[in-house]
């Protein structure tokens, strides 16, 4: 496991909540930032800021270099062939919306199909619903197995020659399911479709290699991997990006403009209209440096071990219900405790300084499939230690006792 000293890099974790040292178990919603990221943003604003790609002056050149270096870093981090395949976005949601609004709407027609799964976050569901409605394409789903996973046999049945896009999450933010994206890419390509991967929950926790995965598009957010909010990226194969029309128009993305018409810059710039989130990109690059200094393999091992420990402990609480598969799962545990509503669980935990998520996790169709109106979720990251798990377990037992007493 990663040594507990890593917490010293995270100022926000050094505080008490309701008189108790904070235990932060909501990294799947948003991770915390190390001082290295906060300092990089501060340094950028104090020394290097100007607008990018237009200034002749020194600061303009520095800002442009910082922004483009960040793009290079993201490309290397994801294993992309070149930085031209990286489009900076506000995050996963806007990255997926870009693919749905530009690529899907140009290739789909009334006889075509878009394939998703019932475990998708709303951000990888609604853009495809809208693209299907706009083009007349049908939205198909690969069904879930009883444990919440999908089977490749089902995928083979659902994906066919009419399929133009397969969009799936790499890791489920509710079930912790890790989907077989490499195999899905093969099935999609065999049928002439592209594979779009929502990497919001995987990128913080494992080494990503988009070329090995052979996905066509891959989206992720900076804030779930220790970077700033409001920045993320879309990876797209260059040959596909070059066929896509921009969806936002304005400055930065044009080549030549008359009063009547305009032409676009090359990829990726044609998709980045307006002044971009330069400081966000700088912060994201610093987050990548931070994660790589710890080691993605080390983070993956740590997260696996802490989750295994948490699963082992939480399963011993009578009345606990865990959602999702027991093996090969990501570092989050979605659960319910007796008949206590997850909001009530989260409130009691908060009074003990333990932060967890409660609600539908932006997955209303999945909640319906689970037969739960809401669930609670604890998620773990590189700064969590076994003592955090112990505090969580103790608070859950206290919740059980409190509610058992109050309504028993």
């Amino acid at each position: 496991m990663i040594a507990p000293e890593i917490r010293e890099h995270f100022p926000i974790l050094q505080q008490t909540i309701n008189g108790k040292p904070l235990v932060y178990l909501d990294s799947a919603a948003s991770a915390q930032r190390p001082v290295q990221v906060i300092e990089a943003i501060k340094r950028y604003y104090e020394h290097d800021h100007a607008n990018v790609h237009r200034g002749v002056h020194t600061l303009g050149a520095r800002a442009t270099a910082a922004y483009e270096n960040a793009r290079e870093k993201v490309a290397r981090f994801l294993g992309a062939a070149s930085a031209e395949e990286i489009i900076f976005t506000r995050g996963t949601t806007s990255a997926l919306n870009l693919v749905a609004a530009s690529y899907a709407r140009s290739v789909c027609g009334p006889d075509d199909e878009i394939v998703i799964t019932p475990m998708e976050h709303h951000s990888n569901l609604i853009p495809w619903q809208q693209a299907a409605k706009a083009t007349g394409a049908a939205l198909k789903t690969i069904p879930l197995q009883p444990d919440g996973t999908i089977s490749l046999a089902d995928a083979e049945k659902v994906i066919n020659a009419r399929t133009k896009v397969v969009a799936i999450t790499h890791v489920s933010n509710v079930l912790g399911v890790i989907n077989p994206v490499e195999e899905l890419a093969k099935i999609a390509h065999r049928n002439g479709a592209v594979l779009v991967v929502d990497g919001a929950q995987s990128t913080p926790h494992m080494k990503i290699d988009v070329r090995k995965m052979d996905c066509d598009f891959f989206a992720f957010s900076g804030h779930k991997m220790c970077g700033p909010t409001g920045i993320g990226a879309l990876y797209g194969k260059k040959s596909l990006l070059e066929r896509m029309e921009p969806v936002e128009f304005g400055g930065e993305m044009i080549d030549f403009v008359t009063l009547e018409d305009a032409t676009w810059k090359d990829v990726p710039y044609r998709f980045e209209g307006g002044t971009p989130n330069i400081a966000g990109a700088v912060g994201l690059a610093a987050a990548i440096d931070f994660l790589e200094s710890v080691g993605l393999d080390e983070i993956e091992r740590h997260d696996r071990e802490i989750t295994a420990y948490a699963l082992e402990r939480v399963q011993q609480i009578p009345g606990i219900r865990i959602y999702g598969p027991t093996a090969h799962r990501a570092s989050l545990i979605t659960f319910n405790l007796d008949d206590i509503h997850p909001h009530d669980v989260a409130t009691v935990l908060d009074t003990e300084g333990v932060a967890i998520r409660a609600g539908h996790h932006c997955c209303q169709p999945l909640m319906k499939w689970l037969g739960a109106s809401a669930t609670a979720r604890a998620s773990f990251y590189l700064y969590n230690q076994p003592d955090d798990v112990d505090r969580w377990i103790a608070a859950l037992i206290q919740t059980k006792e409190f509610f058992g007493h109050a309504i028993g």
Binding site: N18, H341, P342, H343, D344, T347, V348, T351, A358, G359, H360, Q364, M367, S373, A374, F402, A406, I407
Partner: protein
């Protein structure tokens, strides 16, 4: 922050034994409301006659605070004119912003502790918003 300030005995009693839970078999003003941030939902029915809320019933899914609040609301509005019921909803909102209105149905005062838990205010107000929506829509459409 003490849990007892939020989960008072009377709240847990309403949660455990909700008053007026169910639906009417004959005609009633029906309204559904959900809280999209958390998935709580309430389905409220009002028996309105000559400008008076004769009875109210609800079904719902949600936390102890939202369901206890719904139970209390259906008790509090029973026999009130629609104007009085709307005023009760306003008084409840003002209690959630820290004011101290009086309630004839005193159980409601137990929910004043919710103000110390800002994330839970929306749970407490769901049923009252459904009440307002039901009355106002009925007034509009007759």
């Amino acid at each position: 922050m003490q849990l007892d300030e939020l989960y008072k005995r009377v709240i847990m009693d309403h949660y455990k034994s909700p008053r007026n839970k169910g639906t009417f078999e004959d005609d009633a003003v029906s309204v559904e409301l959900n809280n999209p941030t958390c998935g709580d939902r309430i389905s409220l029915q009002l028996k309105l006659k000559d400008g008076v809320v004769e009875q109210a019933r609800f079904l719902g899914e949600g936390c102890s605070i939202s369901m206890a609040s719904a139970s209390m609301m259906t008790e509090a509005v029973k026999g009130k004119t629609v104007d009085e019921a709307l005023r009760l909803a306003e008084d409840f909102s003002s209690m959630m912003t820290g004011e101290e209105p009086d309630f004839e149905y005193e159980d409601i005062l137990a929910l004043s502790g919710v103000t110390k838990f800002p994330a839970r205010i929306k749970c407490a107000t769901l049923a009252w918003n459904a009440l307002k929506k039901g009355i106002l829509e009925h007034a509009k459409h007759g």
